[in-house]
Amino acid sequence: MPIVHSVIHVGLVLVLPPLLLGVINKTKALFAGRVGPPWLQAYYDLLKLLRKGSVFSRTTTWVFRAGPVVALVTGLFAALLLPLGGHAAPFGFEGDFVVLVYALGLGRFFTVAAALDTGSAFEGMGGAREVTFSCLAEPALFLGLLVLARASGSLSLGGMLGPEVLGAWASDGAPLAAVLVSLMVVLLVENSRIPFDDPNTHLELTMIHEVMVLDHGGPALGLIHYAAAVKLFVFAALVVGVAVPLGTADPWLAWLGFTAALLALAVVVGVIESIMARLRLLQVPTLLVAACLLSAFGIVLLAREWT
């Protein structure tokens, strides 16, 4: 039976991500009172881009082409490590959360390198910001993982986001709530959502992610969009894993429940983007440090009973 679940897992990872973007845009449109782009617009963009020809600048080298490739591969690999909807991850092992974070790091390394390769001031600016904010996001993520590891007593993502979390919510709900909020903040930062970065702005000075991919075009841009979607899927699965600990009573019901929770999270992200404006760049670090302190507070709460 587990083979089927692994196939479904891979299928979901490959198919679902662009849909999340569609739901987010639809929610924002609903809030703004407009009709908004169709649900499957992201898929159409991808197919269009894959068919287009591409233009490369004189100053770029092979690193420029490697950026999108590595970003997508690492995103997909990270998705394989995550247990979706209570089912064991196809490739789980003890300490896999480190490999996940550092795989995303590899993706970030090559994306920023590709940006710097064009030799333009704007890409450099995007790269600098991307790297700076991720420096603050990773400690928050790790503090969260520490709390999960301590609460679930396991050192693998399968254990941390698995059924034990349900029991953990009962015994020490407060720390898990704090971790959930900080993971949400990390999701918004890493995927350049509104409070930290505006995905569809056209003013280079305000962008982070968009400005890094200014010079990409054609299939390479397609890969980048798809990789961004997969990354959003990974972080969403992480948040859902903590927020909605699904029992494994009935595997099929678990899959449906997980997909529903995912889409609900997309709606939540859409709502957040509609009601908040983009923060000034200098404010972002303070909010990220606040996320770190939140999950650190989670640990202190957890520690209260053993010392």
Binding site: R58, V63, F91, S120, A128, C135, E138, F142, L143
Partner: protein, 655 residues
């Protein structure tokens, strides 16, 4: 048997340079003989090292040595073997690199001298790693230190090199004096200067003092944060293959020393583990923060050595905590992580320094803001630097991830299983390690980007040409090793088993293979690599018919100049400002008052806080105070006679 091989290696390495000296000034023959001798030494060392690692009970080669307190005792136990292997791998590669980088014909006056002392440094290191007697250890230690000083100051006509050399010499001497005191205390506690005699010494109250002195002496050589002051200057000003040897292997002698001394303690007090983890965290975070602010490529790499030493100290700290809490798994994970990171850092840091060396050799400058776009002229060096950069940040396909994973697992197990205050160290260190990982990525993207990618920022890179074969070969070997350990982790990590066992004194309860997911990491790295290759091939095929060469689109900006690219300081500006409480960056203020302001230049610089804000002012103040004491010698005979009489009277009254 392996002891004799190490002796052969020591003699060969020591003598390798002498041939060069005899070869006369133009002696190209001397160069090659030196390199050959170093390779032979490396060969012997590798055989001895692996024999020591895999072999069973280590033999003890000893002979009488008619020196007070001295005994010629050598032993290649697994812990020493590990360092012998590292020395024997990197030293020959460095010397091969030296053939191209510091050819005798380009540097007739100091080429032979550099090779002679390079050989002596290697000999000193090999000797101290297998020495089992305090006096022999100190002879090896100082031979290494002095020879390293003489290699650093090869180009001593430049003022900066002299200053860096003097700072290194003074710092090394301070470390050596701490070791004198430590060995004195160990002698007082146990009555002997032999290493194996000391395990009894450890219950005495002097144990804490011995540990502090070991931390000072060995920490200074390793470059732990507050004691790292000599490291950036020395690495930046030394010839690149010497910097590679120093940051790859020489600072690891400090780690070997710490490991050896802490291995003597059956039940170390917990504060030792906390101290080491604390120092490790400080060194790691501030090390990489300082690296971010640097403009000089080799200083940047030097600060990264401080960061990686911090990671190794965290691993060692976890091992110590494991031993004081009685948790064998923590000991195994922590120590294996630390020792593997010692190997890994030796490999990728040497690779980075060698590639930085070929950049310096080609362009003549280390200043990041005058480089750029070098990957077109120097593709192989760019690839080597990229492999080194990816490895040092601990990113998947390469070896950095394996050792950091072991340390992470140690920390998480510390937090997971422990009650009481011990988990605090883990809770602090794990996120700090994550922060360091992210900062490392920021720093190395900046370094790689500003040097190799984008457009050249000044005319320095015009004449740049790819490095010669003798410079690329070592880089190739090191890169292959990085991939080897990264993908072959399940084969390499178990090698550390005996070393961990010999450190903790008891055989490992759970073999390393089970403790850490080595096979999974290897599979993960391989799969990522394969997937990237496949997708890359597809994208390359798909975009083969790319349109003609066009300038960067850059949102249609009319005339982007190369100077507008992000330079090293602007890229790291926000992060440097975040860490400004520690870095204290200095920048030239731009006050534009009048309507048409004159042309102004902006210069920012991150001084070494510990050195420039604490030590130098301290020494200057001490110098002023001493200034007045010097008035005692004012030259008048009467005064001097008065001193004599005063001494007589004082001593008579004091009686």
């Amino acid at each position: 048997m392996s002891e004799w091989l190490v002796v052969a290696a020591i003699v060969l390495a020591g003598a390798s340079g002498v041939a060069g000296l005899l070869g006369g000034r133009g002696g190209a023959a001397g160069e090659r003989i030196a390199a050959l001798a170093m390779f032979a030494a490396g060969g012997c060392g590798l055989v001895a090292g692996f024999a020591g690692l895999l072999g069973g009970e280590p033999g003890l080669l000893q002979a009488a040595w008619p020196v007070p307190g001295g005994r010629f005792a050598l032993q290649v136990d697994p812990l020493s073997a590990l360092f012998v292997v590292q020395i024997s791998l990197i030293a020959p590669l460095g010397s091969l690199y030296g053939l191209g980088y510091w050819a005798q014909r380009d540097h007739p006056e100091n080429g032979a001298r550099l090779r002679a002392f390079y050989g002596l440094v290697v000999a000193g290191m090999l000797l101290l790693v297998v020495a089992r007697n305090a006096v022999l250890f100190l002879v090896g230690w100082e031979l290494m230190a002095l020879a390293a000083f003489l290699t650093i100051t090869t180009e001593d006509e430049q003022r900066a090199v002299r200053e860096a050399g003097y700072l290194y010499l003074v710092a090394t001497r301070f470390g050596t004096l701490c070791l004198f005191a430590m060995f004195g205390l160990l002698f007082a506690a146990s009555g002997t200067l032999e290493f194996e005699g000391w395990s009894r010494a450890m219950r005495s109250p002097l144990a804490d003092a011995v540990f502090v002195l070991a931390l000072l002496g060995f920490g200074l050589k390793a470059g732990v944060m507050p004691l790292h002051v000599w490291l950036p200057g020395a690495h930046a000003n030394a010839p690149s293959h010497v910097s590679a040897l120093m940051s790859g292997v020489l600072i690891k002698m400090g780690i070997y020393g710490l490991a050896r001394i802490t291995s003597l303690y059956a039940l170390p007090p917990p504060w030792w583990g906390h101290a080491l983890v604390g120092l490790g965290v400080v060194s790691a975070v501030l090390g990489v923060a300082f690296a971010l602010g640097q403009h000089d490529l080799k200083r940047l790499l030097a600060y990264h050595s401080v960061e990686n030493i911090g990671i190794i100290c965290i691993g060692l700290g976890v091992a110590l905590l494991g031993r004081s809490l009685g948790r064998d798994d923590l000991v195994a994970l922590g120590l294996a992580g630390a020792l593997l990171h010692t190997w890994n850092h030796g490999l990728f840091k040497a690779l980075l320094f060698l590639s930085a060396g070929s950049v310096l050799h080609a362009t003549g400058t280390r200043d990041l803001d005058r480089l750029g776009g070098l990957s077109r002229q120097m593709p192989s060096t760019a690839l080597a630097f990229l492999v080194g950069a990816v490895a040092i940040c601990g990113l998947p396909p390469l070896n950095g991830l394996v050792s950091e994973l072991l340390v992470y697992l140690g920390l998480f197990r510390l937090v997971g299983g422990e009650s009481g205050r011990a988990w605090l160290a883990g809770a602090l260190a794990a996120p700090a390690l994550a922060l360091v990982g992210a900062l490392a990525i920021a720093c190395f993207v900046k370094a790689f980007g500003t040097v190799f990618l984008g457009a050249p920022r000044s005319r320095a890179t015009v004449g740049a040409h790819e490095a010669g074969a003798s410079m690329l070969a070592p880089m190739g070997v090191l890169a292959a090793c990085c991939f080897g350990i990264g993908l072959g982790a399940p084969l390499v990590v178990p090698l550390l088993g005996p070393a961990v066992a010999s450190w903790s004194g008891a055989p490992l309860a759970v073999p390393l293979g089970q403790l850490a997911p080595l096979r999974s990491v290897a599979v993960a790295s391989a799969s990522i690599l394969a997937a990237c290759a496949l997708l890359g091939a597809w994208l390359a095929a798909r975009t083969r018919r790319a349109a003609g060469a066009v300038g960067t689109w850059d949102c249609g900006y009319a005339a982007p100049g190369p100077r507008m690219q992000y330079s090293s300081s602007s890229f790291a500006d926000t992060l440097v400002r975040l860490f400004s409480w520690a870095l204290r960056p200095e920048a030239s203020e731009l006050r534009l008052r009048e309507a048409f302001p004159p042309p102004a230049a902006f210069r920012s610089h991150v001084p070494d806080t510990v050195l420039d804000r604490v030590l130098l002012p301290g020494f200057r103040a001490a110098d002023r105070v001493l200034g007045w004491l010097r008035l005692l010698q004012r030259g008048s005979v009467h005064l001097y006679l008065l001193y004599v009489v005063a001494t007589v009277v004082a001593l008579l009254l004091w009686r």
